[in-house]
Protein backbone atom coordinates (compact mmCIF):
# COMPACT_ATOMS: atom_id res chain seq x y z
CA UNK A 1 0.00 0.00 0.00
CA UNK A 2 1.58 3.27 -1.09
CA UNK A 3 1.94 5.93 1.54
CA UNK A 4 -0.10 9.05 0.90
CA UNK A 5 1.96 12.22 0.65
CA UNK A 6 0.52 14.47 3.34
CA UNK A 7 -0.25 18.13 2.88
CA UNK A 8 2.39 20.42 4.24
CA UNK A 9 1.99 24.13 4.58
CA UNK A 10 5.59 25.13 5.10
CA UNK A 11 5.16 28.31 3.10
CA UNK A 12 2.04 29.46 4.86
CA UNK A 13 3.07 32.26 7.24
CA UNK A 14 2.54 31.65 10.96
CA UNK A 15 1.14 34.77 12.61
CA UNK A 16 0.69 36.09 16.08
CA UNK A 17 -2.90 37.32 16.10
CA UNK A 18 -5.10 39.29 18.46
CA UNK A 19 -8.53 37.83 17.98
CA UNK A 20 -11.76 39.08 19.47
CA UNK A 21 -14.27 36.64 20.90
CA UNK A 22 -17.53 36.82 18.94
CA UNK A 23 -19.37 34.19 20.96
CA UNK A 24 -18.83 31.39 23.42
CA UNK A 25 -21.46 28.67 23.67
CA UNK A 26 -21.75 25.53 25.77
CA UNK A 27 -22.84 22.86 23.29
CA UNK A 28 -22.38 19.71 25.38
CA UNK A 29 -21.29 18.77 28.88
CA UNK A 30 -18.38 21.11 29.78
CA UNK A 31 -17.80 21.50 26.04
CA UNK A 32 -17.71 24.92 24.40
CA UNK A 33 -17.50 26.52 20.98
CA UNK A 34 -15.37 29.62 21.00
CA UNK A 35 -15.95 31.81 17.94
CA UNK A 36 -13.20 34.29 17.10
CA UNK A 37 -13.01 37.14 14.61
CA UNK A 38 -10.08 36.10 12.44
CA UNK A 39 -10.10 37.61 8.94
CA UNK A 40 -6.80 36.08 7.78
CA UNK A 41 -6.98 32.65 9.40
CA UNK A 42 -10.60 32.09 8.37
CA UNK A 43 -9.53 32.28 4.71
CA UNK A 44 -6.55 29.97 4.72
CA UNK A 45 -7.06 27.35 7.45
CA UNK A 46 -6.91 23.71 6.37
CA UNK A 47 -8.69 20.85 8.18
CA UNK A 48 -6.38 19.30 10.78
CA UNK A 49 -4.42 22.48 11.42
CA UNK A 50 -4.43 24.02 14.87
CA UNK A 51 -3.77 27.22 16.78
CA UNK A 52 -1.94 27.90 20.05
CA UNK A 53 -3.87 30.12 22.47
CA UNK A 54 -2.35 32.04 25.35
CA UNK A 55 -4.65 31.69 28.34
CA UNK A 56 -5.35 35.28 29.37
CA UNK A 57 -4.89 36.59 32.90
CA UNK A 58 -3.28 33.34 34.10
CA UNK A 59 0.31 34.38 34.68
CA UNK A 60 1.23 31.05 36.27
CA UNK A 61 0.19 29.02 33.21
CA UNK A 62 3.38 28.85 31.23
CA UNK A 63 2.58 27.33 27.85
CA UNK A 64 0.00 28.19 25.27
CA UNK A 65 -2.74 25.62 24.73
CA UNK A 66 -3.16 23.88 21.35
CA UNK A 67 -6.62 23.53 19.77
CA UNK A 68 -7.71 22.23 16.39
CA UNK A 69 -9.42 24.64 14.07
CA UNK A 70 -12.96 23.32 14.40
CA UNK A 71 -14.41 25.45 11.65
CA UNK A 72 -13.45 28.43 9.53
CA UNK A 73 -15.98 30.67 7.84
CA UNK A 74 -14.31 32.86 5.25
CA UNK A 75 -17.43 34.96 4.64
CA UNK A 76 -18.12 35.72 8.29
CA UNK A 77 -14.34 35.97 8.86
CA UNK A 78 -14.52 33.76 11.94
CA UNK A 79 -12.87 30.60 13.18
CA UNK A 80 -14.30 28.23 15.77
CA UNK A 81 -12.50 26.28 18.48
CA UNK A 82 -14.28 23.36 20.12
CA UNK A 83 -12.91 22.61 23.56
CA UNK A 84 -13.56 20.54 26.60
CA UNK A 85 -12.79 21.97 30.05
CA UNK A 86 -10.28 19.48 31.45
CA UNK A 87 -7.80 21.55 33.44
CA UNK A 88 -6.65 24.99 34.51
CA UNK A 89 -6.26 26.51 31.08
CA UNK A 90 -9.50 25.29 29.57
CA UNK A 91 -11.37 26.16 32.80
CA UNK A 92 -10.14 29.73 32.41
CA UNK A 93 -11.07 29.82 28.72
CA UNK A 94 -14.67 28.85 29.38
CA UNK A 95 -15.15 31.94 31.59
CA UNK A 96 -14.06 34.39 28.89
CA UNK A 97 -16.53 36.97 27.67
CA UNK A 98 -17.66 38.18 24.27
CA UNK A 99 -15.40 41.08 23.33
CA UNK A 100 -12.35 39.70 25.15
CA UNK A 101 -9.25 39.56 22.96
CA UNK A 102 -7.13 36.42 22.73
CA UNK A 103 -3.46 36.12 21.84
CA UNK A 104 -3.33 33.36 19.27
CA UNK A 105 -0.61 31.81 17.10
CA UNK A 106 -1.46 30.07 13.85
CA UNK A 107 -2.18 28.43 11.56
CA UNK A 108 0.04 25.58 12.73
CA UNK A 109 0.81 22.10 11.47
CA UNK A 110 -0.12 20.14 8.38
CA UNK A 111 -3.59 19.02 7.35
CA UNK A 112 -5.60 16.01 6.22
CA UNK A 113 -5.03 15.14 2.59
CA UNK A 114 -8.38 14.62 0.89
CA UNK A 115 -7.89 12.95 -2.48
CA UNK A 116 -10.55 14.01 -5.01
CA UNK A 117 -10.80 10.46 -6.28
CA UNK A 118 -11.91 8.99 -2.97
CA UNK A 119 -15.16 7.05 -3.24
CA UNK A 120 -15.60 7.45 0.51
CA UNK A 121 -13.96 9.47 3.25
CA UNK A 122 -14.54 7.63 6.52
CA UNK A 123 -14.17 9.73 9.65
CA UNK A 124 -13.57 8.01 12.97
CA UNK A 125 -13.90 10.47 15.86
CA UNK A 126 -13.83 9.72 19.57
CA UNK A 127 -14.97 12.37 22.06
CA UNK A 128 -13.29 15.72 21.44
CA UNK A 129 -11.62 14.06 18.45
CA UNK A 130 -14.62 15.41 16.55
CA UNK A 131 -13.02 18.88 16.67
CA UNK A 132 -11.17 19.03 13.33
CA UNK A 133 -13.97 17.49 11.31
CA UNK A 134 -16.41 20.33 10.88
CA UNK A 135 -13.95 22.16 8.67
CA UNK A 136 -13.08 18.81 7.08
CA UNK A 137 -16.73 18.28 6.11
CA UNK A 138 -16.86 21.70 4.49
CA UNK A 139 -14.05 20.54 2.22
CA UNK A 140 -15.49 17.11 1.38
CA UNK A 141 -18.84 18.75 0.61
CA UNK A 142 -17.23 21.37 -1.65
CA UNK A 143 -15.40 18.63 -3.49
CA UNK A 144 -18.27 16.14 -3.59
CA UNK A 145 -16.42 13.43 -1.73
CA UNK A 146 -18.96 11.05 -0.13
CA UNK A 147 -18.32 11.04 3.60
CA UNK A 148 -19.29 8.79 6.48
CA UNK A 149 -18.81 9.86 10.09
CA UNK A 150 -18.43 7.41 12.94
CA UNK A 151 -18.62 9.37 16.15
CA UNK A 152 -18.22 7.79 19.58
CA UNK A 153 -18.80 9.37 22.98
CA UNK A 154 -18.91 8.11 26.55
CA UNK A 155 -22.47 9.20 27.23
CA UNK A 156 -25.23 11.29 25.67
CA UNK A 157 -24.32 14.52 27.51
CA UNK A 158 -20.94 14.56 25.77
CA UNK A 159 -22.37 14.45 22.26
CA UNK A 160 -21.84 17.60 20.22
CA UNK A 161 -24.84 18.73 18.13
CA UNK A 162 -25.21 16.62 15.05
CA UNK A 163 -27.11 19.04 12.80
CA UNK A 164 -23.71 20.59 12.14
CA UNK A 165 -22.58 17.40 10.50
CA UNK A 166 -25.66 15.69 9.14
CA UNK A 167 -26.12 17.63 5.89
CA UNK A 168 -22.69 16.65 4.62
CA UNK A 169 -22.18 13.14 5.89
CA UNK A 170 -23.78 9.86 6.81
CA UNK A 171 -23.54 9.92 10.58
CA UNK A 172 -23.39 6.92 12.92
CA UNK A 173 -23.10 7.50 16.66
CA UNK A 174 -22.08 5.16 19.45
CA UNK A 175 -21.85 5.64 23.20
CA UNK A 176 -20.17 3.50 25.79
CA UNK A 177 -23.24 3.42 28.07
CA UNK A 178 -25.76 3.18 25.23
CA UNK A 179 -27.50 6.45 26.14
CA UNK A 180 -27.27 7.63 22.54
CA UNK A 181 -26.72 5.75 19.28
CA UNK A 182 -25.58 2.17 19.50
CA UNK A 183 -24.02 0.89 22.67
CA UNK A 184 -20.29 0.18 22.56
CA UNK A 185 -17.18 1.43 20.87
CA UNK A 186 -17.06 3.50 17.75
CA UNK A 187 -14.54 1.03 16.36
CA UNK A 188 -17.22 -1.69 16.45
CA UNK A 189 -19.31 0.42 14.07
CA UNK A 190 -16.27 0.90 11.87
CA UNK A 191 -15.57 -2.84 11.62
CA UNK A 192 -19.20 -3.53 10.80
CA UNK A 193 -19.09 -0.94 8.02
CA UNK A 194 -15.81 -2.09 6.52
CA UNK A 195 -17.11 -5.67 6.34
CA UNK A 196 -19.88 -4.55 4.02
CA UNK A 197 -18.13 -2.15 1.67
CA UNK A 198 -15.86 -3.04 -1.27
CA UNK A 199 -13.13 -0.98 -2.92
CA UNK A 200 -10.78 -0.27 0.02
CA UNK A 201 -8.23 1.16 -2.42
CA UNK A 202 -10.28 4.29 -2.95
CA UNK A 203 -11.40 4.83 0.60
CA UNK A 204 -9.50 6.41 3.43
CA UNK A 205 -9.94 6.66 7.18
CA UNK A 206 -9.57 10.06 8.87
CA UNK A 207 -9.06 9.57 12.57
CA UNK A 208 -8.87 11.64 15.75
CA UNK A 209 -9.56 10.62 19.34
CA UNK A 210 -8.15 9.10 22.50
CA UNK A 211 -5.08 6.85 22.38
CA UNK A 212 -6.83 3.48 22.97
CA UNK A 213 -9.17 4.26 20.07
CA UNK A 214 -6.25 5.17 17.82
CA UNK A 215 -4.51 1.89 18.62
CA UNK A 216 -7.64 -0.05 17.77
CA UNK A 217 -8.12 1.84 14.49
CA UNK A 218 -4.50 1.17 13.62
CA UNK A 219 -5.18 -2.58 13.93
CA UNK A 220 -8.39 -2.35 11.94
CA UNK A 221 -6.75 -0.36 9.15
CA UNK A 222 -4.01 -2.97 8.84
CA UNK A 223 -6.52 -5.82 8.89
CA UNK A 224 -8.74 -4.31 6.18
CA UNK A 225 -5.82 -2.91 4.16
CA UNK A 226 -7.29 0.56 4.18
CA UNK A 227 -5.30 3.79 4.27
CA UNK A 228 -5.65 5.89 7.40
CA UNK A 229 -4.64 9.42 8.33
CA UNK A 230 -4.60 10.27 12.01
CA UNK A 231 -4.37 13.54 13.89
CA UNK A 232 -2.34 12.98 17.07
CA UNK A 233 -2.19 14.99 20.28
CA UNK A 234 1.06 15.30 22.17
CA UNK A 235 2.14 17.62 24.91
CA UNK A 236 3.39 20.81 23.25
CA UNK A 237 5.42 23.68 24.68
CA UNK A 238 5.51 25.82 21.53
CA UNK A 239 3.50 24.41 18.62
CA UNK A 240 5.81 25.73 15.89
CA UNK A 241 8.82 23.47 15.85
CA UNK A 242 11.28 25.10 18.25
CA UNK A 243 11.06 23.23 21.57
CA UNK A 244 11.33 19.78 19.92
CA UNK A 245 9.23 18.41 22.77
CA UNK A 246 6.40 16.90 20.73
CA UNK A 247 8.22 13.79 19.50
CA UNK A 248 6.20 10.99 17.89
CA UNK A 249 8.14 7.72 17.41
CA UNK A 250 8.49 6.66 13.76
CA UNK A 251 7.47 3.15 12.77
CA UNK A 252 10.31 3.07 10.24
CA UNK A 253 13.11 5.09 11.86
CA UNK A 254 16.51 5.89 10.45
CA UNK A 255 18.39 4.65 13.54
CA UNK A 256 20.79 7.12 15.09
CA UNK A 257 19.61 9.83 12.71
CA UNK A 258 15.89 10.36 12.64
CA UNK A 259 13.67 8.31 14.92
CA UNK A 260 10.90 10.80 15.74
CA UNK A 261 8.50 13.09 13.94
CA UNK A 262 7.55 16.46 15.38
CA UNK A 263 3.80 16.45 16.00
CA UNK A 264 3.45 20.20 15.67
CA UNK A 265 5.37 20.60 12.45
CA UNK A 266 5.49 17.31 10.57
CA UNK A 267 2.02 16.56 11.99
CA UNK A 268 -0.40 16.67 13.69
CA UNK A 269 -1.70 14.52 10.80
CA UNK A 270 0.26 11.38 10.02
CA UNK A 271 -0.21 8.29 7.93
CA UNK A 272 -1.21 5.86 10.61
CA UNK A 273 1.19 3.16 9.44
CA UNK A 274 4.19 5.49 9.78
CA UNK A 275 3.97 6.17 13.52
CA UNK A 276 3.98 4.30 16.79
CA UNK A 277 1.01 5.34 18.89
CA UNK A 278 1.91 5.62 22.55
CA UNK A 279 0.50 7.40 25.62
Amino acid sequence: MAVIPLNTHDHQPIRLCRSEIVSITEIAWETFVLRLKEPALSQNAHPGQFVEIRVPRCADILWRRPFSIHDADGEAETIDILFHAVGRGTEALKHLQVGDVLDLLGPLGNSFHIDDHLTEAIIVAGGLGIAPFKLFLRKTRQRNVPTTLFYGVGKKEQLCRLDDFQPSAQVRVSSVDGSVGSRGMVTDLLIEHLRTVPDMERKCLFVCGPTPMLRKVQEIAAQFQIKAQVSVETIMACGFGVCVGCAVPMRFPDPGKKEYFLACKEGPVFNMEEIIIHD
Binding site: R15, L62, L105, I235, A237, C238, V242, A247, G256
Partner: protein
Amino acid sequence: MIDMSVKIGPLRLQNPIMTASGTFGYAEEFKDIIPLNQLGAVITKTVTVEPRPGNPPRRIVELNNGMLNSIGLPNVGVEQFIIEKLYFLQSLKTTVIVNVAGKTGDGFVECVRRLEDVDGIAGYELNYSCPNVKEGGLSFSSNAATAAQVTRAVRRVAKRPLIVKLTPNVTSISEIGLACQENGADAVSAINTLVGMAVNVKTRRPKLATITGGYSGPAIKPIALAKVYELVSKLTIPVIAIGGIATVEDVLEFLITGASAVQLGTVNFYDPGASVRIIDELHAYCIQHQLGSLSEIIATLNISR
Protein backbone atom coordinates in the same frame (compact mmCIF):
# COMPACT_ATOMS: atom_id res chain seq x y z
CA MET B 1 20.12 58.40 19.26
CA ILE B 2 20.58 55.99 22.11
CA ASP B 3 23.46 53.58 21.79
CA MET B 4 21.95 50.20 22.55
CA SER B 5 25.01 48.28 21.35
CA VAL B 6 27.09 46.14 23.68
CA LYS B 7 30.54 44.63 23.40
CA ILE B 8 31.20 41.01 24.27
CA GLY B 9 34.93 40.66 23.93
CA PRO B 10 35.63 40.99 20.22
CA LEU B 11 31.92 40.86 19.31
CA ARG B 12 29.73 43.93 19.00
CA LEU B 13 25.98 43.38 19.14
CA GLN B 14 23.44 46.03 18.10
CA ASN B 15 21.63 45.43 21.38
CA PRO B 16 22.00 43.03 24.33
CA ILE B 17 18.99 40.81 23.55
CA MET B 18 20.03 37.38 22.26
CA THR B 19 17.97 34.21 21.88
CA ALA B 20 19.11 31.12 23.78
CA SER B 21 20.17 27.86 22.17
CA GLY B 22 17.45 25.24 21.83
CA THR B 23 14.65 27.75 22.26
CA PHE B 24 14.86 29.48 18.91
CA GLY B 25 15.43 26.65 16.43
CA TYR B 26 17.56 27.91 13.56
CA ALA B 27 15.73 31.29 13.55
CA GLU B 28 13.78 30.44 10.39
CA GLU B 29 10.90 29.17 12.53
CA PHE B 30 10.39 32.78 13.69
CA LYS B 31 10.68 34.50 10.33
CA ASP B 32 6.98 35.33 9.94
CA ILE B 33 6.46 36.06 13.62
CA ILE B 34 9.09 38.71 14.43
CA PRO B 35 11.54 40.96 12.54
CA LEU B 36 14.64 38.85 13.15
CA ASN B 37 17.09 41.55 12.12
CA GLN B 38 16.19 43.59 15.19
CA LEU B 39 17.67 41.00 17.53
CA GLY B 40 21.04 41.50 19.17
CA ALA B 41 22.05 37.97 18.24
CA VAL B 42 20.62 34.58 17.42
CA ILE B 43 22.11 31.42 18.90
CA THR B 44 21.30 28.20 17.08
CA LYS B 45 20.16 24.95 18.57
CA THR B 46 23.14 22.79 19.55
CA VAL B 47 24.96 21.26 16.58
CA THR B 48 27.07 18.08 16.90
CA VAL B 49 29.37 16.30 14.45
CA GLU B 50 27.05 13.32 14.02
CA PRO B 51 23.26 13.56 13.69
CA ARG B 52 21.29 12.79 16.85
CA PRO B 53 17.68 11.56 17.00
CA GLY B 54 17.02 12.88 20.52
CA ASN B 55 15.40 11.22 23.53
CA PRO B 56 12.18 9.20 23.61
CA PRO B 57 9.01 11.01 24.72
CA ARG B 58 7.88 12.29 27.09
CA ARG B 59 10.42 15.06 26.67
CA ILE B 60 8.76 18.07 28.30
CA VAL B 61 6.75 18.82 31.43
CA GLU B 62 4.97 22.05 32.31
CA LEU B 63 5.34 23.26 35.89
CA ASN B 64 4.21 26.40 37.65
CA ASN B 65 6.34 29.15 36.14
CA GLY B 66 8.82 26.75 34.65
CA MET B 67 9.31 23.57 32.69
CA LEU B 68 11.41 20.43 32.52
CA ASN B 69 12.97 19.13 29.34
CA SER B 70 15.00 16.15 28.26
CA ILE B 71 15.16 16.73 24.55
CA GLY B 72 18.54 15.05 24.07
CA LEU B 73 20.08 17.51 21.61
CA PRO B 74 18.45 16.18 18.43
CA ASN B 75 20.04 17.74 15.37
CA VAL B 76 20.91 16.86 11.80
CA GLY B 77 24.69 16.93 12.35
CA VAL B 78 27.14 19.60 11.28
CA GLU B 79 27.32 18.65 7.58
CA GLN B 80 23.53 18.74 7.14
CA PHE B 81 23.40 21.87 9.28
CA ILE B 82 25.64 23.58 6.76
CA ILE B 83 23.55 22.33 3.84
CA GLU B 84 20.04 22.83 5.28
CA LYS B 85 20.09 25.48 7.99
CA LEU B 86 22.99 27.84 7.37
CA TYR B 87 21.64 29.43 4.20
CA PHE B 88 18.79 31.13 6.03
CA LEU B 89 21.04 32.20 8.92
CA GLN B 90 23.48 33.74 6.42
CA SER B 91 20.66 35.86 5.00
CA LEU B 92 20.15 37.57 8.37
CA LYS B 93 21.70 40.91 9.22
CA THR B 94 21.77 40.09 12.89
CA THR B 95 24.72 38.35 14.56
CA VAL B 96 24.61 34.55 14.31
CA ILE B 97 26.31 32.39 16.90
CA VAL B 98 26.40 28.61 16.49
CA ASN B 99 26.06 26.52 19.64
CA VAL B 100 28.25 23.42 19.53
CA ALA B 101 28.55 20.25 21.60
CA GLY B 102 30.38 16.95 21.46
CA LYS B 103 30.39 13.58 23.15
CA THR B 104 34.09 14.11 23.81
CA GLY B 105 36.40 17.11 23.73
CA ASP B 106 37.42 16.05 20.23
CA GLY B 107 33.79 16.31 19.16
CA PHE B 108 33.77 20.01 20.05
CA VAL B 109 37.04 20.57 18.17
CA GLU B 110 35.89 18.72 15.07
CA CYS B 111 32.57 20.55 14.93
CA VAL B 112 34.16 23.99 15.31
CA ARG B 113 36.88 23.16 12.79
CA ARG B 114 34.24 22.29 10.20
CA LEU B 115 32.31 25.51 10.90
CA GLU B 116 35.45 27.61 10.52
CA ASP B 117 35.26 26.84 6.78
CA VAL B 118 31.89 28.51 6.24
CA ASP B 119 30.75 32.15 6.17
CA GLY B 120 28.01 33.90 8.06
CA ILE B 121 28.91 32.82 11.57
CA ALA B 122 30.08 35.43 14.08
CA GLY B 123 31.15 33.08 16.87
CA TYR B 124 30.60 29.89 18.80
CA GLU B 125 28.96 29.02 22.04
CA LEU B 126 30.18 25.76 23.59
CA ASN B 127 27.49 23.77 25.37
CA TYR B 128 29.40 22.28 28.31
CA SER B 129 26.25 20.89 29.90
CA CYS B 130 26.06 17.90 27.63
CA PRO B 131 27.31 14.52 28.89
CA ASN B 132 30.96 13.63 28.38
CA VAL B 133 31.08 9.94 27.42
CA LYS B 134 34.77 9.71 28.39
CA GLU B 135 33.93 10.75 31.94
CA GLY B 136 30.92 8.57 32.52
CA GLY B 137 28.37 11.11 31.34
CA LEU B 138 29.40 13.96 33.62
CA SER B 139 29.11 17.32 31.94
CA PHE B 140 32.14 19.09 30.47
CA SER B 141 31.89 21.79 33.05
CA SER B 142 31.58 19.48 36.04
CA ASN B 143 35.29 19.86 36.72
CA ALA B 144 37.69 22.68 36.00
CA ALA B 145 40.39 20.49 34.46
CA THR B 146 38.10 19.13 31.73
CA ALA B 147 36.62 22.57 31.07
CA ALA B 148 40.13 24.01 30.76
CA GLN B 149 41.32 21.25 28.47
CA VAL B 150 38.38 21.43 26.04
CA THR B 151 38.45 25.24 25.96
CA ARG B 152 42.16 25.22 25.15
CA ALA B 153 41.69 22.63 22.40
CA VAL B 154 38.82 24.50 20.76
CA ARG B 155 40.65 27.83 21.10
CA ARG B 156 43.47 26.41 18.99
CA VAL B 157 41.17 25.82 16.01
CA ALA B 158 38.70 28.70 16.44
CA LYS B 159 39.58 32.07 14.98
CA ARG B 160 36.12 33.38 15.80
CA PRO B 161 35.01 34.50 19.27
CA LEU B 162 34.34 31.73 21.76
CA ILE B 163 31.63 31.79 24.42
CA VAL B 164 31.51 28.98 26.95
CA LYS B 165 28.04 28.16 28.27
CA LEU B 166 28.18 26.98 31.86
CA THR B 167 25.99 24.61 33.82
CA PRO B 168 24.75 25.69 37.26
CA ASN B 169 24.85 22.08 38.47
CA VAL B 170 28.30 22.43 40.06
CA THR B 171 29.69 23.44 43.42
CA SER B 172 31.46 26.52 42.11
CA ILE B 173 30.45 27.95 38.75
CA SER B 174 33.13 30.64 38.97
CA GLU B 175 35.89 28.06 39.34
CA ILE B 176 34.82 26.54 36.01
CA GLY B 177 34.39 30.02 34.54
CA LEU B 178 37.93 30.97 35.55
CA ALA B 179 39.31 27.81 33.96
CA CYS B 180 37.61 28.78 30.69
CA GLN B 181 38.84 32.37 30.95
CA GLU B 182 42.44 31.26 31.48
CA ASN B 183 42.27 28.97 28.47
CA GLY B 184 41.06 31.43 25.89
CA ALA B 185 37.30 31.86 26.23
CA ASP B 186 36.18 35.35 25.14
CA ALA B 187 33.07 35.25 27.30
CA VAL B 188 30.94 32.89 29.36
CA SER B 189 27.18 32.48 29.30
CA ALA B 190 25.19 31.20 32.27
CA ILE B 191 23.08 29.43 33.18
CA ASN B 192 22.09 26.32 31.33
CA THR B 193 19.16 24.37 32.82
CA LEU B 194 19.14 23.07 36.41
CA VAL B 195 18.74 19.34 36.97
CA GLY B 196 15.12 18.73 37.94
CA MET B 197 12.47 16.04 38.19
CA ALA B 198 8.70 15.56 38.48
CA VAL B 199 6.62 12.54 39.47
CA ASN B 200 3.11 11.55 38.43
CA VAL B 201 1.51 10.59 41.73
CA LYS B 202 -1.24 8.55 40.08
CA THR B 203 1.07 6.23 38.17
CA ARG B 204 4.08 6.75 40.49
CA ARG B 205 6.21 7.15 37.40
CA PRO B 206 8.62 9.97 36.63
CA LYS B 207 6.98 12.43 34.25
CA LEU B 208 10.01 12.54 31.94
CA ALA B 209 11.09 9.41 30.06
CA THR B 210 14.68 10.07 31.16
CA ILE B 211 13.56 10.50 34.81
CA THR B 212 15.46 13.75 35.36
CA GLY B 213 15.79 16.67 32.99
CA GLY B 214 16.60 20.36 32.75
CA TYR B 215 14.58 22.97 34.64
CA SER B 216 14.07 26.36 32.96
CA GLY B 217 11.71 29.32 32.79
CA PRO B 218 10.80 32.26 35.06
CA ALA B 219 11.14 30.13 38.20
CA ILE B 220 14.93 29.83 37.81
CA LYS B 221 15.66 33.55 37.49
CA PRO B 222 16.78 34.11 41.13
CA ILE B 223 19.25 31.24 40.83
CA ALA B 224 20.55 32.57 37.53
CA LEU B 225 21.00 36.03 39.04
CA ALA B 226 23.05 34.62 41.90
CA LYS B 227 25.26 32.65 39.49
CA VAL B 228 25.75 35.66 37.24
CA TYR B 229 26.63 37.76 40.27
CA GLU B 230 29.23 35.18 41.32
CA LEU B 231 30.71 35.10 37.80
CA VAL B 232 30.93 38.87 37.32
CA SER B 233 32.55 39.17 40.74
CA LYS B 234 35.31 36.69 39.91
CA LEU B 235 35.86 36.86 36.14
CA THR B 236 37.24 39.64 33.96
CA ILE B 237 35.75 38.41 30.66
CA PRO B 238 32.13 39.36 29.82
CA VAL B 239 29.26 37.34 31.23
CA ILE B 240 26.08 36.73 29.23
CA ALA B 241 23.08 36.07 31.45
CA ILE B 242 20.53 33.32 30.80
CA GLY B 243 17.74 32.01 33.00
CA GLY B 244 14.07 32.82 33.28
CA ILE B 245 14.19 36.14 31.50
CA ALA B 246 10.72 37.12 30.30
CA THR B 247 10.33 40.89 30.79
CA VAL B 248 12.34 44.09 30.42
CA GLU B 249 12.63 44.28 34.24
CA ASP B 250 14.31 40.88 34.20
CA VAL B 251 16.78 42.15 31.59
CA LEU B 252 17.54 45.23 33.68
CA GLU B 253 18.16 43.12 36.78
CA PHE B 254 20.83 41.13 34.96
CA LEU B 255 22.42 44.18 33.30
CA ILE B 256 22.61 46.03 36.62
CA THR B 257 24.19 42.93 38.18
CA GLY B 258 26.90 43.10 35.54
CA ALA B 259 25.86 40.94 32.59
CA SER B 260 27.04 42.36 29.25
CA ALA B 261 24.09 40.86 27.41
CA VAL B 262 21.23 38.44 28.02
CA GLN B 263 19.65 35.44 26.34
CA LEU B 264 15.92 34.72 26.26
CA GLY B 265 15.05 31.02 26.41
CA THR B 266 11.81 29.38 27.47
CA VAL B 267 9.83 32.61 26.94
CA ASN B 268 10.26 32.14 23.16
CA PHE B 269 7.97 29.10 23.32
CA TYR B 270 4.93 30.76 24.84
CA ASP B 271 5.52 34.40 23.96
CA PRO B 272 7.42 34.38 20.66
CA GLY B 273 7.10 38.15 20.31
CA ALA B 274 8.90 38.76 23.62
CA SER B 275 12.41 39.34 22.26
CA VAL B 276 11.61 42.25 19.94
CA ARG B 277 9.09 43.70 22.38
CA ILE B 278 11.74 43.74 25.11
CA ILE B 279 14.19 45.49 22.77
CA ASP B 280 11.59 48.23 22.25
CA GLU B 281 10.90 48.44 25.96
CA LEU B 282 14.59 48.65 26.79
CA HIS B 283 14.91 51.49 24.30
CA ALA B 284 11.94 53.25 25.89
CA TYR B 285 13.51 52.75 29.32
CA CYS B 286 16.71 54.44 28.16
CA ILE B 287 14.76 57.42 26.81
CA GLN B 288 12.72 57.69 29.97
CA HIS B 289 15.83 57.63 32.15
CA GLN B 290 17.84 59.82 29.79
CA LEU B 291 20.55 57.25 29.27
CA GLY B 292 22.90 57.90 26.35
CA SER B 293 24.02 54.29 26.20
CA LEU B 294 23.47 51.01 27.96
CA SER B 295 26.92 51.15 29.49
CA GLU B 296 25.43 53.65 31.96
CA ILE B 297 23.45 50.85 33.50
CA ILE B 298 25.61 47.72 33.13
CA ALA B 299 27.32 46.66 36.39
CA THR B 300 25.81 49.41 38.50
CA LEU B 301 24.63 47.16 41.30
CA ASN B 302 24.71 49.08 44.56
CA ILE B 303 25.79 46.79 47.39
CA SER B 304 26.86 49.48 49.82
CA ARG B 305 25.14 49.25 53.16
